[in-house]
Amino acid sequence: MRWKHHEPFFWSLFGAGGVISAFCVPVMVLLTGFLLPLHLLPEAAYNYESLHALAQNLWVKGAILVIVALSLWHCAHRIFHGLHDVGVSTGPLARTLTYGLAGLSSLALLILLLTL
């Protein structure tokens, strides 16, 4: 059949982002929001060189991209449909702002990771 819209694309990213937000994001919040500032992590976590080396690993780069970018797409889709729920028109402007922001941020993150 011919598709007149690409909602499945956004929904798939939203769904994948939902899984990530549910399973990985709480762990990341715990690590970076609590354990790290409270100095509860091993010494190596406070060493710039070792963290930098970790982030240069291809697998870690991939994990960062997946966790951050998919969470952003999840949020964008939620906000876009949430706007519709509260009666704000969901025209091209809202679409561009929500998905556009997620897309641009993902691209920026990708460039950052590639040049790290």
């Binding site: 007149k4 909602e7 929904w11 449909h81 729920d85």
Partner: protein, 278 residues
């Protein structure tokens, strides 16, 4: 709930000395009312009365002009759906005792046009239901003498064509979705349907899913256009209230998410496969 001590008459023959309960019913009779208005009815409180019994009492004893749909009295026909204190329920399995002694607000199912009193206009739903072809398509295509893809011929539809087997496991894939009684409570519960009446909605999608999941059916492609439209499965934001109010535990929300996965697969294939094979 106990009947007050002063009461010594039988439950089924209420007298004026008994406890009462108030029903505030949204009335609308075209030509009589300019707009829907609430009307209060004081009726006897009888512990084992369902709302349907209460409405029957009003119609028989107080106001014969009151209109509402009902038939089976046992949560099977799906005709008695209405709102009680803003929650969609079947009148035949909702009881006065769950509200007593507070007054109860009775309104027609939300998100639908009112035809008269508690009777809503089901026509838009029936059109949606028809659009998803809720029946087995080309059932004998895989029967021993049937050829897949061949047009359904009359002789192939007979028992001579062989039996169409289904294992308990295959049945379990759609069994729960076949329990829908088209009561439309889920449509009244759905905020997305409230915002966008074009949304195909929970029950129609559940029934489409029921046939899509049936191994005897060959109609997935016939149902895809209605399901894959923007107003098809994609209008759902997985609020889940439809599944909460469903009196038959159909879980329409789950059917919709599963059809989204099917739709997303179709969409991905439409990019991957060469044009002719789509």
């Amino acid at each position: 709930m106990t009947i007050p001590a002063t009461d010594n008459t039988s439950e089924t023959a209420p007298s004026k000395s008994e406890a009462g309960i108030t029903l505030e019913i949204l009335r609308y009779i075209p030509g009589t009312h300019s707009e829907p208005t609430f009307q209060r009815f004081e009726i006897p409180y009888v512990e084992d009365w369902s709302m349907l019994d209460a409405l029957g009492y009003i119609k028989d004893e107080l106001d014969s002009s009151l209109s509402y749909r009902w038939s089976c009295r046992m949560a099977v026909c799906g005709s008695c759906g209405m709102m009680f204190d803003g929650v969609p329920k079947l009148a035949c399995e909702t009881f006065l005792r769950d509200y007593y002694p507070r007054p109860i607000r009775v309104e027609p199912l939300e998100n639908f046009g009112i035809e008269r009193d508690l009777v809503i206009d089901q026509e838009p739903f029936l059109e949606k239901l028809e659009s998803v072809k809720p029946y087995i398509i080309d059932a004998m295509a895989n029967a021993p003498s049937g050829k897949p893809g061949a047009p359904a011929g009359h002789e192939r539809e007979t028992i001579q064509a062989g039996e169409n087997r289904q294992t308990p496991k295959e049945l379990a894939l759609f069994d729960q979705y076949s329990m829908c009684i088209n009561c439309l409570l889920c449509y009244s519960a759905c905020p997305q349907f409230g915002l966008n009446p074009a949304f195909l909605g929970p029950a129609a999608i559940s029934l489409a899913h029921r046939y899509n999941q049936d191994n005897r059916d060959q109609g997935n492609a016939d149902r895809a256009p209605a399901l894959n439209e923007e107003d098809g499965v994609w209008s759902c934001t997985f609020v889940g209230y439809c599944s909460e109010v469903c009196p038959k535990s159909v879980d329409p929300a789950s059917a919709i998410q599963q059809e989204k996965v099917r739709g997303a697969t179709d969409w991905a294939l439409s990019w991957l496969l060469p044009k002719g094979a789509r």
